[in-house]
């Protein structure tokens, strides 16, 4: 099955991924994504009925922290890389809720 990625799909994925593509990039992205998906379709050849999806390779389970405070005031460090800060906070464009 050959995947044809349309403008709408690229637009939608752009909204999800917060990426804005130029006309040229968009055409390239349509082509690349189409061929990658064609390639990924190869997985369809395999029968995976009754196979559990494996997200972790090892059966490591139950890793917990104790409920103990381990960090103090690190505000200065946390803000050190901020493109814009004000009054100890990160500045962002005005949000809907304000």
């Amino acid at each position: 099955m050959a995947h044809v990625i349309d403008d709408e799909t690229i637009e939608y994925v752009g909204i999800l991924a917060k990426l804005e593509l130029s006309e040229e990039e968009r055409e390239q992205a349509k082509k690349d994504m189409g061929s990658m998906l064609d390639y990924i379709d190869k997985l369809g050849e395999l029968d995976t009925t009754d196979i559990e999806p494996m997200s972790h390779v090892f059966p490591v389970q139950n890793v917990f922290r104790e409920d103990v405070v381990t960090s103090g005031d690190m505000r200065e460090q946390m803000l050190a890389n901020a493109p814009q800060e004000k009054d100890g906070m990160f500045v962002v464009p005005k949000t809907f809720e304000g």
Partner: protein, 476 residues
């Protein structure tokens, strides 16, 4: 004939858990720090950081699940919910979609029509977002990540409620249960309990669900009630006009009593959930669940039963006292010390409730200790102080948790127990007020009240009015 509509309501309730630290890092969850002072690389989403689950979060979540009759998911995982918003530092929220910790529970609420069971679809664990503050001077917003990563459970009900009264009863029930567990203080006004209302309407008799909307930003029971009424009306109006309800998230503006859609073309509402590869699965065994079950407290219904058996106090008092876990604890601990359930209850029903109202406080905010409370009751019982003084001392204790004994001592508020001193004062009062004495002797019983007052005044309040009264009668 006019169509009759039924409202169908389900709730998504977020509860901030009372852990000391955040869900995935060792930052404090304490309220009120200066912005971003309770943050670290993990909860600000610095590159290279990884989450590690706070075990207490799991315990609280399981405890709430058991208390709401849920089945506990033995093998559960965390998933990432992906969406961009500045309050969400990683731009994904770690939550649970595929295998939530609790499922298929219910709680019983009391309604006008009797007891009703409200189904709980699931409870899942997740992290809270930071806070966005609108800057007053510039057209920008500011982000404070102190709340980012504070542990939450989200309790998702079935669409089993039909009106605002049931919704409030359900919320009260959840709040009480969770407070009893000590898993959260559940304050709507401070945001440690938040409810989103999913509401649809349908014609009475229909079994199909209508299209629902989700209402956010409801931070009081009043707001919830008004939002339900408002949304019901809005949806019915749409349907009556032949239009259809759009499935969407709406924001309630309680000041203006209207809601508006939070839609944006930039919000695809496609969260691309997938298991978080940075966190390992949780496998719970019977021993763990039994340990949490064994730690469950006596809940309100059982407590009321027991109060009825053990204490001779009015049912009304029992309801009020057990309505707050903190007040019930205070009551029981104080009774344990002074063995005067009735007196303790009276103080709680009277002065305590009065002061709570006056100070605009919740019962959970009561600060005085059972030891001090018991001492105060003891002082009044032994007639060391009289009722008027006791109320004054109580207020001091309520506000600053003073030790009543020390306070009475320091301020010299003890009643004068010396019979001779009192007798002498009474004799002086009789001598100084011949008119009143004559009135009393002439049959005006009330005149004695004036003489009691004069005596108390002369004793600077430190006498037992009953004894004064008795002595006056004797001498007259």
């Amino acid at each position: 004939m006019e169509k009759q509509y039924e409202t169908v309501i389900g709730l998504e309730v977020h509860v901030e858990l009372a852990t000391k630290t955040k869900i995935f890092c060792g930052c404090s969850t304490a309220f009120g720090g200066a912005p971003n002072t309770h943050t670290c690389p993990v909860c600000t989403g610095m590159p290279g950081t990884l989450p590690v689950l706070n075990g207490q979060v799991l315990e609280y979540a399981v405890a709430v699940g058991l208390a709401t009759n849920c089945s506990i998911t033995r093998y559960c995982k965390f998933d990432r919910k992906n969406y961009f918003y500045p309050d969400n530092p990683q731009n994904y929220q770690i939550s649970q979609l595929y295998l939530p910790i609790c499922r298929n529970g219910h709680v019983d609420i009391e309604t006008e029509g009797g007891v009703k069971s409200i189904g709980i679809h699931e409870i899942h664990m997740e992290e809270d977002a930071g806070k966005l503050i609108h800057d007053e001077w510039e057209d920008v917003s500011l982000v404070d990540y102190n709340r980012s990563g504070v542990p939450l459970i989200e309790i998702v009900s079935e669409p089993d409620m039909r009106n605002a009264q049931e919704v409030i009863a359900y919320l009260e029930k959840l709040r009480m249960t969770i407070q009893y567990l000590g898993a959260s203080d559940c304050k709507l006004n401070e945001g440690s309990m938040r409810a989103d209302v999913n509401l649809s309407v349908r014609e009475v008799g229909s079994t199909e669900l209508g299209t629902r909307t989700e209402m956010k930003n409801l931070n009081s029971f009043r707001a919830i009630t008004r939002a339900i009424t408002g949304e019901r009306e809005r949806q019915i109006e749409l349907l009556e006009r032949g239009e259809s309800v759009v499935q969407e998230t709406r924001r309630w503006d309680d000041a203006r009593e209207v809601s508006y859609a939070m839609r944006s073309k930039e919000d695809a509402q496609d969260y691309r959930y997938f298991p978080d590869p940075d966190l390992v699965p949780i496998q719970l065994d019977d021993a763990f669940i039994e340990r949490v079950r064994a730690g469950q407290p006596e809940f309100r219904e059982e407590k009321m039963e027991r109060y009825r058996r053990e204490f001779d106090i009015p049912d009304y008092d029992t309801r009020i006292i057990t309505g707050s876990k903190h007040m019930a604890d205070l009551f029981e601990a104080t009774v344990e010390l002074c063995h005067q359930p009735k007196k303790v209850s009276n103080w709680l029903m009277g002065e305590t409730l009065r002061l709570l109202k006056e100070r605009e406080m919740d019962p959970e905010d009561i600060r005085f200790t059972p030891a001090h409370f018991a001492k105060l009751i003891d002082l009044t019982e032994r007639k060391v102080i009289n009722t008027t003084v006791a109320k004054e001392v109580f207020e001091e204790m309520f506000d600053r948790d003073v030790d009543p004994e020390g306070y009475v001592e320091d301020k010299g508020l003890k009643m004068v127990g010396d019979g001779n001193a009192l007798r002498k004062t009474v004799e002086e009062v009789i001598a100084a007020n011949p008119q009143s004495v004559a009135d009393y002797r002439g049959g005006k019983e009330k005149a004695i009240g004036f003489l009691v007052g004069q005596t108390m005044k002369a004793m600077k309040g430190k006498a037992d009015p009953a004894s004064v009264n008795q002595l006056l009668k004797e001498l007259l």
